[in-house]
Amino acid sequence: MTATARPLLLNDFDAAASRKRCMGFRRRILDVSQTVTALHIAPAFSCMEIADTVYNGLMRRKDDGSSDDVFLMSKGHGCMAQYAILEYLGVLANGELDRYCTAHGELGAHPDYGVPGIEASTGSLGHGLAMAVGMAIAERNKKSGATVYAILSDGEIQEGSTWEAIMMASSLGLTNLVMLVDNNNFQSLGQTHLTHPSFYPLDDKFRAFQWECETVNGHDAAAMFQAVTSREGKGPFALVCKTTKGKGVSYMEGVPIWHYRSPNPEEYKTALDELTEISG
């Protein structure tokens, strides 16, 4: 319940290093994909740069590498991106990711509270933002100075529960809450702008609920870092991150089957050959 002993400074954020990391994370996820028949590969590639920007840029770290800031993966099906980063940070034990979705491992296809680095169990959409609001209230009342970062899919913004949380966050003036929307414009039955023409634009809707909001390229880590760190901070902040589902592998980009399927050995090889550093 005490405030942190010393002020935490924002890490230096090196966009080139982020690009290199994200390429490595995508490779790692592709490797894991060869051990299972299915994993949410495209949703993870969609939010790869967003997750890296939060973990390796925005979250302030103490000398021991820990952070009071919170990362909540509300779009639980994107957790391969989170696992790859937690492994890189040494939060997940070495080899744990190799036991993904096996009887002797602890990592499943959705994040589970109790696993190191997992702040909340998600997977059912529309739960994360209200939990993030509760966390932000708790941190404010503890005067910890911590900021809560939640990654939401655009699909889960269709949940009414998300809008209840959006209303609450701004009504409570939660300046320590940042929502990052992985706006890949895809859901199971097609492109959202076609299935639900009134869904976009999102930023106007967030602003109407008194959120501060910016829209950026969600594969441009530097732009996301800049937008979040330069926010006014009078209330909660929403970053609409324009992304491509399956980003980085040409045959996966915008193709619904890759929401869940694992590539076969040949497709895997093609994917590895294609991967490059993505600069937005």
Partner: protein, 305 residues
């Protein structure tokens, strides 16, 4: 009950800054108003947004707080059910979900406001504890437990206001997870919980007046259920009467019958529950219970038959 709950919660809130109250647009009567005035940062009103109420409680608990979600039972448990299940129970968080007016107590408001299945629904979820205090004194004890001791989620079913004190001078003290003998006898065993403890108490008196020896027992902790205590009590009596303001499946009545089978009990067992029906009538709480077949007269008559 509501007022005793609020007074106790306020007192615990003074001692413990982890106590937060998250309500969904319900009037903060009595001491709840005092909590709101004195601890505005720990009193959150989501408005008519019950999913956010539960989700926010989960987030608070994930960061070390001990929140209470508080509104009418149908809205605290049914509307945000998946949040109760996933956010609270799956993550096993110390959040108390308070259901005001469990059963058919909102007798003039109709079926949309009856939580007649609440105990079965709540008790079916792993990790969930279910407590339904039987009078204002038990409400104080149960609220203290929820505020300070519970290790996971609790569904706390309360009545409204004006319930009589029924457990003063009881044989046993209130203890979490234990059946509580209010009065002891050796012929008839009457088990109930919640607001219908009043009916149970009246039935006990009537049977005693007619010369029977009666044990009156409060089963305020429905889950975890005190099977050992119940088995011993069933074995020690010839005739068991269960009175329960809840649908026939998944509550005390079915628990007792199942247990009686498991232990090879020979006692006669009469159960009086709500019907597996929606009723479409209005009136007093007793009127609606009577429509469901629960009345002191009827229970006494059946016991004598």
């Amino acid at each position: 009950m509501r007022n005793h709950f609020a007074e106790t919660l306020y007192a615990k809130g003074v001692e413990d800054p982890r106590i937060h109250v998250v309500v969904a647009d319900i009037s903060p009567a009595g001491s709840m108003g005092k909590f709101r005035e004195e601890f505005p940062e720990r009193f959150i009103n989501t408005g008519v947004a019950e999913q956010a109420m539960i989700g926010i409680c989960a987030g608070l608990a994930l960061k070390g707080m001990r929140p209470f979600a508080y509104t009418i039972a149908t809205f605290s448990l049914y509307r945000p059910f998946e949040m109760v299940r996933d956010d609270l129970c799956y993550q096993n968080l110390p959040v108390t979900v308070v259901g005001i007016g469990g059963g058919v107590i909102y007798s003039t408001l109709g079926g949309t406001h009856y939580a007649q299945e609440d105990v079965a629904i709540a008790a079916s979820i792993p990790n969930m504890t279910v407590i339904a205090p039987s009078d204002p004194l038990e409400t104080v004890a149960a609220t203290e437990y929820c505020a300070a001791e519970s290790q996971g989620p609790v569904y706390l079913r309360l009545g409204k206001a004006g319930e009589p004190v029924l457990t003063e001078g009881a044989v046993d003290p209130w203890r979490f997870g234990k059946l509580r003998r209010i009065q002891t006898g050796d012929d008839v065993l009457i088990l109930s919980y919640g607001v219908t403890m009043r009916h149970a108490s009246q039935v006990a008196q009537r049977l005693r007046d007619s010369g029977r020896s009666v044990s009156l027992v409060a089963a305020s902790t429905l889950k975890p259920f005190d099977k050992e205590g119940a088995a011993a009590l069933i074995k020690a009596h010839k005739h068991v009467i269960v009175i329960e303001e809840m649908v026939p499946r998944g509550g005390l009545a079915s628990e007792i019958k199942q247990l009686a089978w498991d232990i090879g009990a020979t006692a006669r067992i009469d159960t009086h529950t709500l019907k597996d029906e929606f009723v479409h009538c209005y009136g007093s709480h007793d009127d609606i219970l009577a429509e469901h077949g629960i009345s002191v007269e009827k229970i006494v008559a059946q016991a004598a038959a």
